[in-house]
Assembly symmetry: C2
Homo-oligomer: 417 residues x 2
């Protein structure tokens, strides 16, 4: 049989730079046409493989593919769909292999976080077992920055930059208003389990901003927190609070879970930011403003970190190069060589060591009182937000690409997921 | 007596470009040292004049003043403090004139929205009456874009750009996730009375995004709204909703006022975005995400509109030039000359016609169904978000200036406000 095709899919929450990884995969594959045939993408992630909704990326122009580098979101669609264990989901894993066989796919590039690393690993195991070898390479992506071995995860640097820039700007605003109006500004950031994104808010301290960080790694102590905010406001006239959505009480209850009900008795979903803001108002009487960044933070390609974009692209490229070298069940990583000047290189990690491991903030990245970041954390974070990589603009708005996403003709019977 | 000094103060909510106006005032005054002495700034706005807390801007280097052009927030501090009528607040108006006399101030540049235009007008009236003539010039500033006569208000173009860019980016994100997860994204924007900022979210329609806008000018009709969202999701697979904080029911009650109480019976303050998002979930079952941009939107100097920055500077400059020409009780305006290509020039409006007039969205800027913007609105908005004017960055963060803000020696007895 001729050279094999490749399959690429995006998984889980998308980021400002996951398409830069897609760009790295596709451009690199195109440079190695002697080794790799077509790159097919899954429409809406792995679901597209199961339902045989494949996208033929060869139908996209070089310019369109290049534009992926500056386009946020998942250009082929992503999905939240976790394949369970091989035993529980054997049917779906076998279907994947059937699809790969039918379309002569020998390379599986899976671009996602912890769950997809696990799936990727399982695909490589099963394909061997079923006698249809597929080289499965995981391309890391997660704003949560919680994958092991790699120094950082593509997607994180840009969200960190967005949060640091936004906290800086909003803090300047509060400082201007504090004399007669708002004294505390609260911004809620992503990170259900790990406080990496919240930590990025701490970088504004270097710019003289009084800031209190609430990490998911530190159990929330209301009394200590209010005393900290009060001291900050008394000293500086104002302060900013960066609260992780994952911040919780010692019993595990999230701050956002307030058990509030509306006039009709419906449970009211709120964010952690308004809870924290109202807590401050009730106890200390300070006027507040609050923001919830939500998708704005992970989609903000306009203020992406150049370091992050470069790494996202490089890991996509490396994935293809690893595949060509015959590697299987691996993930390219960012290996930090030095902090100052920041130097990094691409490494490689076996998926057996990546799957199902979550990386939290080390305790020595958080100050003793639990409300700030240490110099060690700063040294870690600063290079990751360095550099700007603005997308092209036209008439005031960024020019993000939409691909044609032409479907590959189906060859198999339909499959119910 | 020798040439007069000038007094400059920032008022109300600050913006990404109010300091660009300050830059225009100070740099232009420095070029006319034969006509204007020192520029004093009020520490925390007009309060700084009442309490004689003046800042000597001559102590700032040319470089620091130039950096104001790319620094968001109010560099001298702002305040929310409205002087009432001349009858009710005569003591405070007289105090202002005393301060101006004591510091040989002949020019009053007041940088703010509707309220400060009114104050500025009153100062000019009273100063004549008291026989100490002060030329009072208002420099327009408001993200709400609700001042009359001027085609737009400095501060608005940048927040409009931020909202348009952010809505575009988040919508790309939702589109990627919609197959198995989030189908509706809701973002809440500023604008208590006027829907100009919300309208900016409508610009993403040109990029193929299905978007529903909730304006304060249109009474909220839950049934129609839910039907609209449902139709959008059924057609496109997802949609974005931009809700103005001022959106309200026919009886005037804001969407954000839900009468919710926490476990302790405290009234729970929330935003309009979570209310709208939960409403969609309850009625239609679509998974949602929501964001509240709050200060992030008006402070976002990193994505300021170049048109806006240019106009903010130009109006600060024009204010000084009008003063030198002997004008009083006026406000420089942006006069639109043409849409395509966009051309504008600086005009001038008498404060008697500016004070206490609020400019809402014209009905023909809003689509018949009340959920979108018309081509006419588009033509109005597009030039205002045009162009980028990135601040300088260092180590990943924008380099915003902090002034020394050196106090002027007091000459009068203290004054209780």
């Amino acid at each position: 049989m001729a050279k094999k095709n490749a399959f690429y899919a995006q998984s889980g929450g998308v980021t400002a730079v996951i398409n830069a990884s897609a760009c790295g995969v596709i451009e690199t594959a195109r440079k190695h046409k002697d080794k790799i045939g077509k790159v097919y993408a899954g429409r809406n992630g792995i679901i597209g493989a199961l339902t045989e909704e494949l996208i033929d990326t060869t139908k996209e122009s070089a310019k369109a593919i290049a534009s992926l580098r500056h386009t946020p979101s998942g250009a082929f669609g992503s999905c939240r769909y976790k394949l369970k264990s091989l035993e529980a989901n054997k049917r779906e894993y076998e279907r994947l292999i059937e699809i790969f066989k039918a379309h002569n796919i020998g390379y599986f590039f899976y671009n996602g976080g912890g769950d997809s690393a696990d799936t990727c690993y399982k695909v490589s195991q099963l394909s061997e077992k079923l006698g249809y070898p597929v080289q499965a390479i995981h391309v890391p992506k997660t704003v949560d920055n919680d994958l092991p071995i790699t120094d950082c995860c593509p997607g994180f640097g840009s969200v960190a930059k967005y949060i640091a820039v936004s906290t800086l700007e909003a803090s300047f605003d509060v400082a201007s208003m504090a004399k007669t109006s708002t004294k505390v500004f609260v911004v809620e950031v992503m990170g259900r389990h790990a406080g990496w994104i919240a930590a990025a808010g701490g970088l504004v301290e270097d710019h003289g901003i009084p800031v209190v960080i609430l990490f998911p790694e530190i159990e929330f102590d209301q009394k200590k927190f209010l005393a900290k905010v009060d001291a900050m406001v008394k000293k500086h006239g104002y302060c900013s609070v960066v609260v992780s959505e994952g911040c919780h009480y010692p019993d595990g209850k999230f701050l956002a879970e307030q058990g509030t009900r509306d006039a009709f008795g419906h449970a009211q979903l709120g964010g952690a930011a308004p809870v924290v803001a109202n807590m401050i108002k009730d106890a200390l009487g300070y006027k507040f403003h609050w923001a919830v960044a939500d998708y704005l933070q992970r989609a903000a390609r306009h203020i992406a970190s150049k370091t992050d974009v470069d790494q996202a692209y490089a890991l996509g490229k490396a994935a293809v190069e690893l595949a060509i070298k015959g590697q299987n069940a691996v993930m390219p990583t960012v290996d930090r060589v030095s902090d100052k000047p920041y130097k990094w290189k691409v490494g490689v990690a076996p998926l057996s060591k990546v799957a199902n491991v979550e990386k939290f903030m080390p305790r020595d990245f958080i100050t003793a009182d639990g409300f700030g970041i240490t110099a060690k954390c700063r040294s870690y974070l600063l290079p990751l937000i360095k550099g700007e990589d603005y997308p092209p603009f036209k008439d005031g708005l960024p020019q993000y690409v939409r691909l044609k996403n032409v479907a590959v003709t189906k060859k198999l019977a339909s499959f119910k997921i």
